[in-house]
Amino acid sequence: MHEASIAYELLNIAVKECSKNGYSKIKTIKVVIGRATGVVPEALLFAFNVLREDTIAKHANLIIEEAPVKGFCKDCKNEFESNENYILFECPNCGSFSINLISGKELNIKEMEVS
């Protein structure tokens, strides 16, 4: 249910950005949601569709781009991708724990189409 808070915040950011730059209508908002954030895209979309009423995003489409969990192993120098919805701490190739997370925790607004 915390998707409602996230939808509220993203609408807030989008509407503020528009009023700052003189746009009056939002057509689309594109967001990137990492798979390890625990955010359910369907729930986010549902909350967005309720909350967009009475805003300049009333007719806006929310496009959700899911980002997979990706890491880079500093030992075997391999990049890996996981289908799981949590962060990996162990390299699936060599078992090392020296890992840099590349993607999976995103919760960002990427772009909007406005007029």
Binding site: M1, H2, S5, I6, E9, L10, N12, I13, E17, N21, Y23, V31, A36, T37, G38, V39, E84, N85, Y86, I87, F89, E90, F97, L107, N108, I109, K110, E111, M112, E113, V114, S115
Partner: protein, 214 residues
């Protein structure tokens, strides 16, 4: 036309959380964000913990619930500062709620502040409130499949308290599996096994807590 953005959606919450953290630090208060499912034993753990350490450190509590003052009344019996937040339906506490609740507390007269989050194993994990440490409770009755079903909470928490271990002989649940899966998700997680009913393991937890504060 297209507008490119690179804004974090929870930026506003994170900014307020940082302000809270600064405010707590300046007041010299160590802040614990306590999270779990409903009924795992958050308030019971607080009662046991306060009982054990109240002569050593000055403790305050923020209680987060959807509605009601039951938990705040349980804490109030100890004669320590307590504030109840009613989220009126929201499934988690956010940084702004904590900023407002903190105004009601004598922060300068506290060493330790517990924030008891809304009972929920999902949403609270996503929202920083300005805490020093996130502590989660999993009770044995919830089952040993929970770490892999709710990975975010286990990955965000620094401490896992396994509660209700007095029931282990009555349940088909493996404490080893809980620990193994929690450590798989979060190799650095610190684990305590306790029973708030019998008091078993409370000392280890409170000793760790007192060391962290000092």
């Amino acid at each position: 036309m297209k507008v490119m953005l690179t804004t974090k959606i929870l930026d506003a919450n994170e900014r307020i959380a940082e302000e809270n953290k600064k405010m707590f630090k300046e007041a010299g208060v160590y802040v614990v964000n306590l999270m779990s499912s409903p009924g795992a034993g958050k308030t019971s753990l607080l009662e046991k913990t306060i009982e054990a350490i109240k002569d050593k450190v000055r403790v305050g509590v923020i209680e987060g619930d959807i509605t009601g003052t039951n938990d705040a009344e349980r804490i109030d019996r100890f004669g320590i500062p307590v504030v109840q937040i009613n989220t009126e339906g929201a499934c988690h506490l956010d940084a702004n709620m904590i900023a407002n609740a903190a105004k009601e507390l004598p922060l300068k007269d506290l060493d330790l502040l517990f924030i008891e989050n809304v009972g929920n194993l999902v949403c609270p994990a996503e929202f920083k409130v300005g805490e020093d440490v996130k502590v989660m409770i999993l009770s044995l009755t919830e089952g040993d499949d929970k770490p892999l079903k709710y990975p975010l909470m286990f990955q965000e928490s620094s401490v896992l308290i396994i509660n209700k271990i007095d029931l282990k002989d009555y349940l088909d649940v493996s404490i080893d599996k809980i620990k193994k899966d929690a450590q798989f998700l979060n190799p650095k997680i610190k684990i305590f096994e306790v029973s708030c009913k019998t008091g078993q393991g409370i000392d280890e937890w409170t000793n760790w807590l007192l060391t962290s504060i000092s």
